[in-house]
């Protein structure tokens, strides 16, 4: 950060240098035949006038050539006369020169030692293969192919491997984040570690889709057993139409069409108003991942990005499943996320909301499929700790209320919260892993979970349903702050078979994405057996599996966005293989 010497000093030293060079050149044969002296002589003033570096400036810009007299003497040792060679050697060093030499030695020694230690450390220390904070496998050393080499991929992958697998990378990242946190001051009491970006305030929010149906008022019917009845009403009074028709800019009422033939006429008991915060500020944004500040709290969210065009396909998939399993109760649960309950409406970027899309899908389901209404399950408890603030999942309490609604629909027993052992752990939400936004690194929160007290065993199988091992349903001893959702049945990639002490003969198969994982422990008092299949990690026909295992109940649970995305497609695929 220093350009070192000032002009005056440089000019003096340049003068010494020029004299030396002239003296030196006088001993050399003339090398240039075609000098252009005229140009150089007259150039000094005009260069300056043209705004280009003049000779004077250029000389002073010479890379400290004149400064290092030691170097000047040694550059051409064979061309210098004896006098010049021997003079500095015979002259005793002054105190200043001795200090300079010592300083040079110290600088080289210390810097080289540091550099060497780090370089050797990077070579010999074991390199991590997984980043727990980012929830991903780290880069592996690339395999050589000529194609990869000529495209430049091979070499860039080597660099990437070297950088991605630095030993203690998470520690270094923490230090880096800590350093960056020193760049500025906190805002409104909230610690802003990074940069505040704009999108969402007032008229400037051009990127925010203004046709969002939020803030919305959802008029919902009272939760009742009718939720287990088949949906009949297909009339479209949901978000799209309402939002289009509404004259209001700020609040657009949306009347839900419950899959209940009495819902349209039922007296609303709950009115849901989506959260609104026009002052919410986006701190980081990448794709649908969002970090924002609302009030004094920093939130991490995965904005809803469902594709309604796929709604019919998904509904058809579930209808097909029901057709294939005529004797089983089939349930559809489109889980609502923090998008519906926490994220300010102003930040939404899609035309349809998660809630309106889930309603839209449910209206297309066969009447034989029972819809689990998570809105009504969660709404009475919305002040409770249902969702993480910086993680895309729900807390187990949110899952508990959804499971309660499901158990009610399935007419099975359901354990009270007091029948669980409650624990609390620190955790780092998944939005940090997804965004790597450093401001979230220190924004830990509390993960509250409930371990059922009744008797059960859990067997784990691979994607082909080959037995692997028996292990706890919620292995607390393996708890990890960043991969904390692995507390629920180790990993999504295993198929689980839970055998409980319940003897009602009910066999439940859960076909899911990662979201309902937290629900399963809440059902160990409700079913004799539970099979849990994450449809992303399954290589067989799930309908055949349900038949084979004698499933009495099949719960298809996932977020609305996943249902309208690849996971919904995967489920369709699993019915046809």
């Amino acid at each position: 950060m220093s350009d070192h010497i000032d002009d005056k000093e440089l000019e003096e030293l340049n003068e010494i240098y020029r004299r030396k060079m002239e003296a030196q050149k006088s001993h050399e044969p003339k090398k240039a035949k075609h000098e252009k002296p005229a140009k150089d002589v007259k150039s000094e003033n005009t260069h300056s006038e043209k705004g280009l570096p003049n000779k004077k400036a250029e000389n002073s810009a010479k890379s400290e050539k004149p400064v290092n007299t030691e170097k000047q003497i040694k550059v051409k040792p064979e061309k210098q006369d004896k006098e010049e060679k021997t003079q500095p050697e015979s002259k005793p060093l002054t105190e200043g020169e001795r200090r300079k030499k010592l300083a040079v030695k110290i600088n080289i020694g210390v810097c080289t030692a540091f550099f060497a230690v780090v370089a050797v450390g990077l070579l010999v220390l074991p390199r991590p293969t997984i980043s727990e904070s980012e929830k991903r496998n780290l880069a592996t050393f690339p395999k050589f192919t000529w194609d990869a080499y000529w495209s430049g991929d091979y070499t860039s992958d080597i660099s990437y491997f070297f950088n991605d697998t630095v030993p203690f990378r998470d520690t270094f990242k923490s230090i880096g984040a800590g350093f960056r946190s020193l760049f500025g001051f906190s805002i409104n009491g909230a610690e802003i570690k990074g940069n505040v970006s704009q999108v969402n305030s007032g008229a400037s929010q051009t990127e925010v889709t203004t046709v969002s149906t939020k803030p919305i008022a959802i008029v919902t019917p009272a939760p009742s057993d009718t939720s287990s009845e088949a949906p009949e009403s297909k009339d479209e009074t949901s978000s799209k139409d309402n939002s289009d028709d509404s004259k209001s800019d700020t609040s657009k009422a949306e009347t839900s069409s419950k899959p209940d033939n009495s819902s349209n006429s039922s007296k609303p008991e709950n009115v849901y108003i989506a959260p609104s915060d026009p002052d919410a500020q986006v701190l980081y944004e990448e794709g649908s991942q969002l970090v924002y500040q609302s009030g004094d709290t920093i939130y991490g969210a995965q904005l809803y990005n469902g594709n309604r065009d796929n709604a019919e396909d998904y509904a058809n998939t579930l209808n097909t499943l029901k057709t294939l399993l005529p004797d089983a109760n089939v349930y559809s649960m489109l889980a609502l996320t923090q998008n519906t309950f926490i994220t300010p409406a102003e930040l939404e970027k899609t035309k349809y909301t998660e809630l309106s899309d889930s309603e839209y899908i449910s209206n297309m389901l066969s009447k034989d499929i029972k819809v689990i209404d998570t809105m009504n399950a969660l709404l009475p408890h919305q002040k409770e700790n249902l969702f993480f603030l910086r993680d895309c999942h729900w807390q187990q309490l949110g899952a508990y209320y959804a499971a309660q609604s499901f158990a009610k629909a399935a007419s099975v027993n359901f354990a009270k919260l007091s029948d669980y052992d409650k624990y609390e752990e620190d955790c780092l939400g998944s939005v940090y892993a997804a965004t790597q936004y450093e401001g979230l690194m220190y924004e830990g929160e509390t993960f509250t979970y409930y371990v059922p007290k009744n008797e059960y065993t859990t067997d784990y199988y691979d994607e082909d349903y080959e037995y692997q091992f028996e292990y706890p349903l919620m292995p607390r001893s393996d708890y990890n702050t960043t991969a904390f959702y692995s507390l629920f049945m180790v990993a999504d990639s295993y198929i689980k078979h839970i055998t409980t002490d319940v003897d009602n003969g009910r066999v439940l198969v859960v076909l899911k994405d990662d979201y309902p994982s937290a629900m399963v422990p809440c059902l160990t008092s409700s079913f004799s057996e539970i099979y849990v299949i994450d449809v992303r990690y399954c290589n067989f026909n799930v309908a055949d599996f349900c038949v084979e295992k004698g499933a009495t109940d099949v719960l298809v649970g996932m977020t609305t966005e996943n249902a309208l995305g690849e996971i919904g497609d995967t489920l369709s695929y699993l019915l046809n293989i």
Partner: protein, 467 residues
């Protein structure tokens, strides 16, 4: 491969130093530099190594022919052919798409616009080659009769892809005769550490502010203060980015025993635009001064037309886009104005006023430099004076300033010669050793911190790589 990369710093550079210092003879060291330079260049784009080597080979023979036919028309012809070849390559790779786009715009035809991948550093090594050929022709240097030595000069990895534009004359003697002193190594280490710090600690973090408002934000709604704030930060980002790269290049060169010219001399302390360009990207300015300004293309009227040509080329050299041309001519215009006013009158301007004038012109210039989209450039210029109906100040910008206050303040301070002044002061207090030890501690701290910040860096190429 880039300098601000852990693989480069702790593997490639380490191996290169080991190999270099194991060899005792200059000839072997030259070969070490060639091998490592080829690996360096091939790391990102292996195929372009052939272009580089081919270009060097053509110019090597051109140099020999120029020498052979010296003072004859044949020498002129060879020089012209070599220049056409070199400039032709640059034009083909860098400007073909631009020319076709503009041709389509002004003509009824609609030619397909070719998307030609540009070899990294072609602007820099082409200019080095041109300087070699012209200096050969003018007899300012001896023709290099060794192919591998010319290859080493052109391909030397410290300055290969982003300058500074090292002229052959600068290192002519050092190719064969160089002695590396401990002072050279010490200075080289310091330059590398400081350059890395400029890039990783300052420039990379300043870039996040710029991205927030200019790249990702809604430019039209950015306030007057927010626009000025961002463009000032951008000016500093470019300075620390490019001067940081130059520092590393000069430092590496010093350790290898070469003494490259300085490329930056605290440009923001300038009192006028003429001075600014004597302190900013000096190697480019001196190149145009020596190889273009006095070429009598426009005959007697060269006084103004050459000035126009130089600044047109300065802008165009930076990129195949109109904003770069506007940027170059913008500075040319101010230099013309300053020249019309005269040096004496310029000096009469109060110092504070002169600095303000220079800073405003330079900073606005960087705005022109940033916006390759001319529509956005217009919005930016309107924003500066509140012509877009934008507010004077906005909450988000204010918060960003608060959130990055120390970073910006430290960056502004380091744009000034604060450290040299501090060192000088301490040394005048007879604290030379303490100052030197302080520099060592600073070197290690900056290098360590930069390394840590690079652990999670995903995208930190040097800005001037694209040129």
């Amino acid at each position: 491969m880039i300098f601000a990369d852990l693989f480069f710093l702790y593997f490639f550079m380490a191996l290169c130093f080991i190999a270099y210092f194991i060899c005792r003879k200059t000839v072997y060291r030259n070969w070490v530099l060639i091998v490592f330079s080829m690996i360096f260049y091939a790391w990102g784009e292996p195929v372009w190594v052939f272009l580089l080597v081919g270009s060097v080979t053509v110019n090597y023979f051109a140099g020999l022919l120029i020498d052979k036919f010296r003072d004859t028309k044949k020498a002129t012809a060879v020089t012209a052919c070599a220049l056409i070849f070199d400039i032709g390559l640059l034009m083909f790779f860098k400007y073909t798409g631009f020319f076709v786009e503009n041709f389509n715009a002004i003509s009824p035809v609609d030619l397909p616009v070719p998307h030609i991948e540009m070899p990294i550093g072609i602007s820099f090594f082409t200019f080095q080659i041109i300087s070699y050929i012209l200096d050969c022709y003018w007899g300012k240097i001896k023709v290099q009769r060794s192919w591998y030595k010319l290859l080493m000069y052109i391909s030397m990895f410290p300055q290969l892809v982003a300058g500074p534009i090292v002229r052959y004359a600068v290192i002519e003697d050092e190719i064969d005769n160089r002695v590396i002193t401990s002072a050279d190594i010490s200075d080289g280490i310091t330059r590398i550490c400081m350059g890395l710090g400029k890039k990783v600690i300052l420039s990379n973090n300043l870039s996040t502010i710029v991205d927030t408002f200019f790249k990702n934000g809604d430019l039209a709604s950015l306030s007057v203060v927010g626009t000025w704030y961002t463009v000032i930060v951008y000016a500093m980002q470019v300075y620390f980015d490019f001067s940081g790269y130059s520092d590393i290049a000069i430092g590496l060169g010093r350790i290898f025993g070469f003494h490259f010219d300085e490329n930056f001399r605290y440009p923001f302390v300038s009192k006028n635009i003429t001075e600014f360009w004597q302190r900013w990207h000096i190697s480019l300015g001196t190149f145009f001064r020596d190889y273009l300004l006095y070429v009598p293309i426009f005959g007697k009227r060269r006084k103004y037309l050459n000035l126009f040509l130089v600044w047109f080329c300065t802008g165009f050299w930076h990129g195949a886009n109109w904003n770069y041309i506007i940027w170059g001519l913008y500075f040319g215009l101010f230099i013309l104005i300053e020249r019309t006013i005269g040096n004496k009158n310029m000096r009469k301007m109060p110092k504070a006023l002169a600095h303000i004038y220079n800073t405003i012109v330079v900073v606005v210039g960087f705005g022109i430099f940033y916006f390759t989209d001319l529509g956005k450039l217009g919005t930016f210029l309107g924003n500066l004076v509140g012509m877009n109906g934008n507010s004077f100040v906005d909450k988000i910008s204010t918060q960003n300033m608060m959130a990055n206050a120390w970073l910006v303040i430290v960056s502004i301070a380091l744009c000034m010669p604060v450290i040299p002044a501090l060192k000088k002061k301490l040394e005048s207090m007879n604290l030379y050793l303490a100052t030197s030890v302080g520099q060592t501690v600073l070197n290690v701290a900056v290098f360590a911190l930069s390394s840590i910040l690079l652990v999670n860096a995903t995208n930190n190429p040097f800005i001037y790589w694209q040129f």
